[in-house]
Symmetry: C2
Subunit: 571 residues, 2 copies
């Protein structure tokens, strides 16, 4: 089994297996998705129409069980943003695809009436009726799929939100334990999957094998070097112990923690929802709880967690920083149990916690409910689950909710909600939100750890650009962002791995080259769609309404935003 | 009193009167709005934010009580479309502004808390509290304004939809009788007005006078020639007798009458809602009814009407073709009384009947209600009036409604609903929808009367272009589209009028030159915002799903759409 492209025509229910075209071979994951969009999806395509494609692609390093390298990229033309869209996730899907030799699974056209499970295995693809799964939550769907297809499958699942093709809908992946807690969350990829008529994509890796390796002995040696690199950075241990929740204290200290609909940058209840509190709660309650859980098979960082209730039964897994901020401080909620319950509902409905948290914040500003009222927030999740008109508004995202309730203070760029770093306090990340081809996206290039005064406008574009290029590179390799710290202690390990696996001769600049190439492709696609400099901006109100406690506005000059990738477009 | 620009800073509540800058003097109405946007409103401005401007401008021929020449253009960056936006209307507003010497009333920034009536008179502007008007429908608001400010005022009013800044919100103008039935309907200009904190703009023409005239005796003579031109065309009499409703039969015959959510092009109940039926109903019921009503003072065409109920009391005025089609056949409703009631509610709430009719059609396709159920449609108008979540979805327009209910078959271009000519059957008008800088707009260039096979793709771009240029010219002059037939019998009357009034020496090509200049400005603005060729398309599904009875799709080549205005952009 080798590097293949699997094209599935959903209308004719036929599979075409083809070798990856030469021009695409040096791309994977996010970069490969951008390339396919640019070559095959008309810029005017309705994101939910038949001309759009849903693409699943492991990264270039996928399939070898290298720690943190088996993420899966899921994308297409984004329903929420209208831009190029890629949302990657941990869990089992990336590994399973790579083990079947699939570099990209490209789903074209759409099924007619009815709903289907697309079953992908070494034998090809099969369409199984999904009528019994329609309307079910993601957790119950996962249970039934595991019972039906076996415990070792990977699966990508949509919930009621995706079935309804609502634009905050996510695709949920089974994690290493078979729990559907890993999300391709952003940009409405769940709506895209719903538009294709698929309730689930099951990938059975049985009979598969790791992708071919040009120099197996070099790869064997490099495994140890790679693990040592990860272990060499203290951040790896911090993620292991506290997960991403450690960021609550850091972002709060910088005054950039989204609070009450992005109206404040510090939350008085931050300690109660931070990393220390979360770890203490998990350890104290015990039971099924676990503060250091691996989302992907083979991961040694284990930033994920399992949050138990008072009886020790799983409340949700994982509970991560972005959710804690957007559904906690951003909603005036200082109680981890409530946040965990909101998170569980969001997963079960199959929606992006960032987008929904932001939408709930906007709705509170619009008078729909009151910040801090956890019961009201949970009731709104019920509305989303049931698909009431209000629920449909919220599940269409923050910008949409702002339109419905006349709220101007919408935290969104290119239609996608701003994650948990207020751009007025962490301005480099604001540059990323403004200029990323993906819309506002924390995974597109964070800057909070950069050695720069985050409040000053100067120099932020350069910091953001470095971060964006690196992230686009990691997303193309299929590497988790949290391995980046470790890799920075031995950057040569990445080209060495690629050369061992593929027999290439790439140099130390490969991460940068892959990242720049990916961004160039993505921006070219967006430009064809019609996105231009006027779209590369943070929301206008964030340039005018100061954010307490620093009372800063976003004031990175537009000229810096316009210039950030000008060289890529000339090239 | 001369040609002035009145700038009102809503934040400081101050007026600045200035002479119209030389570069703007040869523009009026729609063209002047485009020029001001291009010069003063940043392309990245949030349409509902303080950087956008609400502009009211009479046309170049306004202020002289020439029949059909006193329309008012209202615009800004469009809340619904994000494009340049102009929505012109009859009624009193254009004449009143012109009589005060105001070529453009430019409303900048926004008021803080609270709601206001902006009172404009020869003495300047005044801000009167509007707290007692908030929440009121447009009709009751109009009654109170007339009682408070006198029977001779002009007024532009928003209803609850505009107050809520919902994107189907219109601005309603008093007609010649003081009834608020003339709408600047499209593109969400009512939301823009709401975002400025104004419930109404009252213009008191007392003390005003016609704008200066370079050659008064020439103008006196031209008045007769102009009226003779209008009367020389038989269509003037047809509009007088049947109004726009005569189009029902014509469009139905061409198979392009929007029916049941744009799923069909012919309606079995067309006769019951057509021009003959409407005229018969009005004449039979008598009372306040009038089949030939003037919307503007001095109009001799009188295409408007007053529709009475069974007791002879006014049901609504006017009832026009677009409303009959979008709220009638498009909803499967073959009963003029129901359509008239829906129309009255829409006016009172202050929403665009085209956008709401299209949204209701989409909602029916999405299972919210059943085509043909008039009571259900009226209940949905109640939801809009009350601002329930469902009402807010509908009042945000067709595209928004499609997103909420997962309906792909949304009839909209650049976010604005397609009016009452299905582009699959009247393809030249489809070209207009696709390529007009305004989004889908029937007033931007109809082609149904062109001598061309409407089903063939060939040659439609040329026909559309001619119509679009002419309409942009008329909209810049302030002339009603329905005077165009008469003017075509003596085209030289337009340059003669301009030369008499302004002392210019323009030639017979002035209509084309004004139209092309306006389109050039508008497209330049849209391009800065980020609109490009991919946006100049009819909805993708209309290129794929055939329209009965001709079973045609929209198949004008994209290259024709891309080329239509290429020369203007090079120029």
């Amino acid at each position: 089994m080798s590097h293949e492209l699997w094209r599935v025509n959903l209308q004719t229910r036929s599979l075409q297996r083809e070798p990856l075209p030469p021009a695409w071979q040096r791309l994977g994951g996010r970069g490969l998705i951008a390339r396919i969009l640019l070559d095959e999806v008309p810029p005017s395509a309705d994101p939910l129409g038949p001309a759009n494609k849903l693409i699943l692609a492991p990264g270039l390093l996928g399939g070898h069980l290298l720690s943190s390298c088996d993420r899966v990229s899921v994308g297409g033309k984004g329903p929420l943003t209208g831009t190029v869209k890629e949302a990657n996730a941990g869990g089992r899907t990336g590994l399973a695809l790579a083990r079947l030799g699939i570099r990209a699974l490209v789903l074209e056209e759409r099924t007619g009436e009815g709903w289907w499970v697309l079953h992908v295995s070494a034998g090809g693809v099969r369409f199984d009726p999904a009528d019994d799964l329609i309307g079910l939550g993601v957790y119950e769907t996962a249970r039934r799929l595991l019972a039906r297809y076996g415990k070792k499958i990977a699966a990508a699942i949509i919930g009621p939100a995706g079935e309804r093709r609502l634009r905050a809908a996510a695709i949920m992946h089974l994690d290493a334990d078979g729990v559907p807690g890993r999300a391709s969350a952003r940009g409405g990829v769940g709506a895209l999957m719903g538009s294709k008529g698929l309730k689930a994509i099951v990938v059975d890796p049985a009979g598969g094998s790791p992708p071919p390796v040009a120099d197996p002995s070099a790869l064997r040696e490099l495994r140890g070097r790679y693990i040592r690199a990860l272990q060499a950075h203290p951040q790896t241990q911090t993620y292991h112990d506290y997960g991403t929740a450690a960021m609550v204290a850091m972002c709060n200290a910088f005054g950039g923690l989204p609070t009450r609909g992005f109206s404040q940058g510090q939350f008085e209840g931050a300690d109660a929802i931070g990393g220390e509190a979360l770890r203490a709660l998990i350890l104290e309650r015990g039971g099924e709880g676990n503060p250091s859980h691996a989302c992907m098979p083979g991961c040694i960082i284990r930033c994920s967690n399992i949050v138990p209730d008072r009886e020790g039964r799983t409340l949700v897994s994982p509970l991560e920083y972005e959710t804690i901020a957007l559904m906690g401080s951003n909603l005036g909620l200082g109680d981890l149990d409530t946040v965990a319950q909101l998170n569980w509902h969001a997963n079960d409905i199959g929606v992006d916690t960032i987008e929904i948290g932001a939408a709930l914040g906007v709705a509170a500003r619009g008078g729909v409910w009151t910040f801090g009222d956890g019961k009201a927030a949970l009731r709104l999740m019920e509305e989303i689950q049931q698909g009431t008109p209000l629920g449909r508004i919220l599940a269409s995202g923050a910008a949409y909710t702002g339109q419905a309730f006349g709220v101007l203070q919408v935290p969104a760029v290119k239609g996608q909600a701003i994650p948990a770093y207020d751009p007025r306090a962490i301005k480099g990340t604001g540059v990323t939100y403004a200029t990323s081809p993906q819309g506002a996206d924390h995974t597109a290039g964070l800057t909070i750890r950069a050695k720069i005064d985050h409040l000053k406008p100067e120099g932020q574009a350069a910091v953001s650009r470095r971060a964006q290029v690196a992230m686009a590179g990691y997303d193309t390799l299929g590497i988790c962002i949290f391995a980046g710290f470790g890799i920075s202690t031995d950057p040569g390990v990445i080209p060495a791995l690629l050369n061992a696996i593929y027999g290439w001769g790439v140099g130390d600049d490969i991460l940068t080259r892959l990242g720049e190439e990916t961004l160039r492709l993505e921006r070219a696609y967006n430009r064809r769609v019609g996105f231009g400099p006027a779209d590369d901006r943070v929301p206008e109100w964030m340039t005018q309404e100061p954010l307490p406690p620093h009372n800063s506005v976003f004031d990175v000059p537009s000229s810096d935003l316009d210039a950030i990738f000008a060289d890529l477009e000339r090239g």
